[in-house]
């Protein structure tokens, strides 16, 4: 056993390859949270008065709220006064060309293309297809690629701060319309102190010609990241949006409390994919990111569609429920999730599907894999309101357990208030069977490879909904993550 320990340690460490710190001159707000902190952030971003008022109102609501404790996760109380709510590289670039080379290097290391010219010229590394990227570094966006090309089509893709300045009418109309300021504890906190995030607006009848993507990187210590993303698809529009995230390895727990709002108007479709790979903490459960996120999409118009796909492999604690409010008739909500917990990771994740319109449909496929001391919960809500005739839901959540120290839990909530609703929920829990392993091994496949093969098969339903590149990345990530977890 002890002979293995070193190898295992090594592998666990190796498991997180994005744990480096970029040494860059940064400025940050002193730790602590009060109205002045919020004024400071607002002033830094050069925001109009209404935005500041909105933030302050959220802060006052937050003060009144109790810390939620219902989730199936355990963590020490967070000291909200010990966190710095703003951190940014000192030299803020005016355009992409002026971005600090150190930053570009960071993103290069993370495999995120920030050089649009190279790609346009056809010398894109690794044959990547065109993806427009908004790169968020701690509290600010350091650059957005392909902005001009997208603008030709009338598409707005920029950082949230820029949107507040350049498109205040849109921001004012939509911000908080899906996730209200006082929605929950962490959403209220985010509304008060949100820094950057992405803003996407797809005009009527436009199909976004490339994948849009935001890459979130936490770098500074003792900070939290509180980004806010808002995506609006006008009538008949289509957009596919990707989100990735990493952070350095640190012994402290860092808080990430984001809010994502999606609005799909009539006939519009939004596809939102996440590969979440925040630092999960070390093998003893020390350090790691607390990922407490509120994500919600509103299918506003008839025949609209919102699809969430998530691959959750990182974070010490994940606590999020990407949801769909199906208000438009015939609207469709989808949720595909693969969540992996190992080491001492904990995840309480799932979705909410609120059926309001007629003939609305939703699908939930959730695959949970728990290894080591990981604890994982699926928590989902399917609610059918009295007006939602013909609503249809199918949910399936499967859990796989690897090792006898981990746990897998399922808490689905079904509230049906219309007789024509059809709701089905199924869940199973199993482990990799000896038979499956034996079958692979007698054909010369090593135990680790066999586990990886079986796990990938288990997750296939979800991976096939990811955009191609992401699917490859997700599969690799899963292999790395489970490297040391054989039965």
């Amino acid at each position: 056993m002890s002979a293995n320990t070193d190898t295992i340690n090594e592998l666990t460490r190796k498991g997180y390859e994005y744990g480096f710190i970029t040494d860059i001159e940064q400025e940050s707000a002193p730790p602590g949270l009060n109205e002045d902190t919020i004024r400071f952030i607002s002033a830094k971003k050069d925001e109009p008065d209404w935005m500041l008022e909105w933030r302050l109102e959220a802060y006052r609501q937050w003060l009144e709220m109790p810390t939620p404790a219902w989730a199936h996760v355990k963590y020490p109380a967070i000291d909200f006064q010990a966190i710095s709510y703003y951190a940014a590289p000192k030299n803020q670039p005016k355009s992409l060309d002026e971005v600090d080379p150190k930053l570009l290097e960071t993103y290069e290391k993370l495999g995120i293309p920030m050089h649009e010219r190279e790609m346009l010229a056809g010398v894109a590394p690794e044959g990547r297809s065109n993806v427009a990227v908004d790169a968020v570094f701690d509290s600010v966006s350091v650059g957005t690629t392909y902005k001009d090309k997208l603008a030709e089509k009338g598409i707005i893709f920029c950082s949230m701060s820029e949107a507040v300045r350049e498109h205040p009418e849109l921001v004012k109309k939509y911000i908080g319309s899906v996730v209200p300021r006082g929605d929950n504890f962490f959403a209220a906190l985010n509304s008060a102190v949100f820094s950057d995030g992405s803003f996407v607006y797809i005009p009527k009848g436009t199909r976004c010609p490339m994948e849009l993507s935001t890459y979130f990187r936490m770098n500074a210590g003792h900070t939290g990241q509180f980004e806010r993303t808002l995506i609006i698809a006008e009538e008949g529009a289509y957009v596919s949006y990707l989100e990735g995230c990493t952070a350095p390895m640190r012994d402290e727990n860092q808080l990430h409390a984001a809010v994502v709002e999606l609005v799909a108007h009539k006939d519009a479709e939004i596809k939102y994919s996440t590969v979440q790979n925040w630092y999960p903490g070390d093998e003893n459960g020390k350090g790691g990111i607390f990922n407490f996120v509120t994500k919600r999409g509103l299918c506003e118009g008839a025949n609209s569609k919102i699809s969430w796909t998530q691959v959750e492999t990182g974070s010490a604690i994940t606590w999020k429920y990407p949801s769909c409010v199906l208000r438009g008739d015939n609207s469709v909500g989808e949720f595909y999730s693969v969540a992996v917990t190992r080491g001492h990771q904990q995840a309480d994740t799932g979705t909410k599907m609120i059926h309001m319109g007629k003939n609305t449909r939703s699908t939930i496929i959730s695959k949970g894999i728990s290894a080591g001391h990981g604890q994982q919960s699926y928590r989902g809500l399917v609610r059918v309101l009295p007006a939602a005739s013909g609503a249809r839901n199918y949910s399936q959540c499967d859990s796989m357990l690897i090792g006898d120290q981990c746990g897998a839990h399922t808490f689905p909530y079904i509230d049906a208030q219309h007789p024509s609703a059809q709701i089905e929920h199924e869940a199973t829990t199993s482990r990799i069977s000896e038979d499956q392993l034996f079958y692979c091994m007698q054909r010369g496949i090593g135990p680790e490879e066999a586990v990886s093969l079986i796990v990938n098969g288990f997750c296939k339903d979800v991976f096939k909904t990811l955009p191609m590149e992401f699917a490859v990345e997700a599969q690799k990530l899963l292999e790395v993550t489970l490297e040391d977890s054989v039965g």
């Binding site: 120290q405 399922t410 199973t428």
Partner: protein
């Protein structure tokens, strides 16, 4: 809104005024009960396990414990005599109705005694078990029961005794219990290799608000078998909030079959601890929820040892503005390997205003287990309705037939013929369709 009973101390005050002359151990347990209630108070939306229950009217008044035995209401006389071939204890308003008791020729090894006498006569057994198992922390009404119970039953089956007739416990409320509370308490122990069937029946008059908080504790020792038919047919304005708690030792078997068909607000929690290897628990339930009713089943099945199995099947039929909750937990403890656990919940909505909540939950801390749960909510199959109608059966009758088909599976699991007929009649009264069709069933 200042609700009378939200100032929880009205119950504490009532408790202090009672002043019972009882053994010290019992006084201590009553005290623990009232303290548990005081600590939590009435449930509210913020308590996860109670989030759908709206206790509004319950907190608006103080239901004092009924202090005397009432008369069996005329309409309920047949209910009191249900399942003729059985031993029987009948309680009215929480107190023993001595004239109705049938305890002749009890076989050797079977003790059936009113609990009030038992705590004096069989000192050691109740002291060892009464109130030692049911959890009070998260169930304020169980706390109230522990504090206030006036009477109930003790059933003790000696090792190796196989009891061939059921023991029927009937808990009725009378007209004089209006705005009063009763707290029936049942303690069952089945010794090693013993077998017993218990029928626990709750009923009361319509149109009177009253509160019933029953608690049943079951201790099933190694290789014993306990079957419990738990029937709730309270009056239309009643509040029924109780629990059943069972501890299963090695290779013990438990079958609980529940029917919830009455009350304005009814909830039964079923706790099962599978504490010994090879134990098996089966929980079944049928809830028929009519206009303005709220019915709630919570199950808490805890696999504490390996090689145990459990099965749950709960079906609900809702009509009018009904609301139902099924919340079922399967908890597999660390090390409880080779657990085999299944859970199903099916809900049939007959009306557009009915609301069904279904929360099947799994908490699993062991890796070599088989656990599955499923849950469905829906209306009658249109194709099946069409099929029946195309053969000349009226719509209402067709709906009745299909409703019967849905619920009949639960009837077949009852296991006592007289009781199955009784529940069949309740079902027929509930389902749509006219009398001729119902006679066919």
């Amino acid at each position: 809104m200042s609700a009378v009973a939200e100032a929880t101390s009205v119950y504490l005050q009532e408790f202090r005024e009672l002043g019972r002359d009882e053994p010290a151990w019992l006084s201590q347990r009553r005290e623990a009960g009232i303290q548990a209630f005081e600590a939590v108070g009435f449930p509210h939306r913020r308590m996860e396990a109670w989030r759908n229950l709206k206790p509004g009217a319950l907190t608006q008044q103080h239901f004092r414990a009924a202090d005397a035995v009432g008369a069996v209401p005329m309409a309920l006389a047949p209910t009191a005599a249900l399942v003729p071939d059985a031993w029987r204890l009948v309680f009215v308003d929480g107190h023993l109705s001595a004239g109705h008791a049938v305890l002749d020729d009890l076989p050797e090894g079977l003790t059936v005694r009113p609990l009030r006498d038992a705590v004096v006569q069989d000192g050691a057994m109740p002291e060892a078990h009464l109130g030692r198992h049911a959890v009070l922390d998260n169930h304020p009404f169980a706390g109230l029961n522990s504090a206030f119970w006036a009477d109930g039953a003790l059933i003790d089956v000696a090792p190796g005794t196989v009891v061939d007739r059921p023991v029927v416990l009937v808990f009725l409320s009378s007209e004089s219990a209006a705005h009063r509370a009763s707290y029936p308490r049942v303690l069952v122990r089945a010794g090693e290799h013993a077998e017993i069937r218990i029928i626990q029946m709750h009923a009361g008059p319509d149109a009177l608000p009253y509160l019933v908080c029953p608690v049943t504790e079951i201790i099933a020792e190694a290789n014993s078998s306990v079957r419990l038919n738990h029937i709730q047919e309270e009056g239309a304005a009643a509040f029924h909030l109780g629990l059943v708690h069972a501890e299963l030792a090695r290779d013990a078997r438990l079958h609980v079959h529940g029917l919830s068909d009455g009350g304005k607000l009814a909830r039964t929690d079923i706790f099962v601890n599978l504490a010994g290897e090879g134990a098996d628990a089966r929980l079944d339930g049928l809830y028929l929820v009519g206009d303005g009713q709220y019915a709630d089943y919570h199950t808490w099945v805890r696999h504490q040892a390996g090689h145990c199995s459990s099965q749950q099947l709960f079906k609900g039929v809702l009509s009018g503005k009904a609301e139902s909750v099924f919340d079922g937990l399967i908890h597999v403890h660390k090390g409880a390997q080779k657990t085999d656990s299944r859970q199903q919940n099916r809900n049939l909505l007959l009306s557009p205003r009915a609301l069904a909540h279904s929360n099947p939950r799994l908490e699993i801390y062991a890796d070599d287990v088989k656990c599955a749960h499923g849950s469905t909510v829906g209306e009658l199959d249109r194709e099946a309705l069409f099929y029946l109608r195309s053969r000349g059966i009226g719509e209402n009758d067709a709906r009745g037939l299909l409703t019967f088909a849905f619920a009949n599976e639960m009837l077949q699991l009852i296991g006592v013929e007289a009781l199955r007929d009784h529940v069949g009649q309740r079902l027929a009264a509930f389902m749509p369709g006219d009398a001729t069709v119902k006679e066919l069933l």
